[in-house]
Subunit: 110 residues, 2 copies
DNA sequence: TCGATAATTCCAGAATAATGGAAATATATG
DNA sequence: CATATATTTCCATTATTCTGGAATTATCGA
């Protein structure tokens, strides 16, 4: 993953409202949630929600699927894990990193 | 970790220059790097670097330690892992999430 | 103590992002 | 077909963030 792409994704998550939306999607699982449900749960104006959903979708963190009049959004878990991997990759300068404070509790990722 | 705090941290990482700085710190390990080294490696104006380092420090992702005329910065790995944990917590709506595409390859975190 | 080096703070201009009302698009239902 | 519902797009306003030159603070070495 390019630094540039990772930064875009992190910026997408770096906003209270978008992060709240994203967490709903992560928790919702593979079914996802439609825009109306999200709008109701977070009390967001439709235009505002649309703006943020578009942002999450543009960066690949969320994926949309039309279903009749509704549009369902779900978190792309593969994308999420790529992003998490990017942050920890090549960490700790070769120190045994599972023991250096709490870096990489599962050991240095590939 | 509060949503609000997580969003601030993610926003801090959601900028090309800051993410580049943070990755240098993550790779540098517990010694960290001083501002001059970072400035040289990324070709940043001192004021600009200072601004971004302050941002990373304010959110707790980086920690500074003065050493003579130099100020060393290092990544706070514990903080990083809290943040990563926040993103995946309660994921996948109870589906067996290690098998749902690639969510939580190590299984649902606590 | 003085000059050099490291880094920060101050500041203002430039750029970018967020918000939500209103109009537009699309689908469903009677 | 007409109406209701779901969502998006358009647009203008407001707010926030980024950038880097210049001044400032602090430490080092001769």
């Amino acid at each position: 993953m390019e630094l540039n792409t990772a930064a875009d994704s992190l910026a997408a998550l770096g906003h209270d409202t978008r992060l709240a939306i994203y967490r709903l999607l992560v928790q919702a699982g593979s079914e996802g949630l439609n825009a109306g449900v999200i709008s109701a749960r977070l009390a967001l104006a439709p235009a505002t929600l649309s703006f943020h959903l578009a942002h999450l979708t543009r960066t690949g963190l969320a994926v949309s699927r039309p279903e009749g009049r509704f549009i369902y959004y779900r978190a792309d878990y593969a994308r999420m894990n790529e992003l998490l991997g990017f942050l920890t990759a090549n960490c700790c300068a070769g120190e045994p990193c599972a023991t250096t404070d709490t870096c990489c509790p599962q050991g240095e990722p590939a």
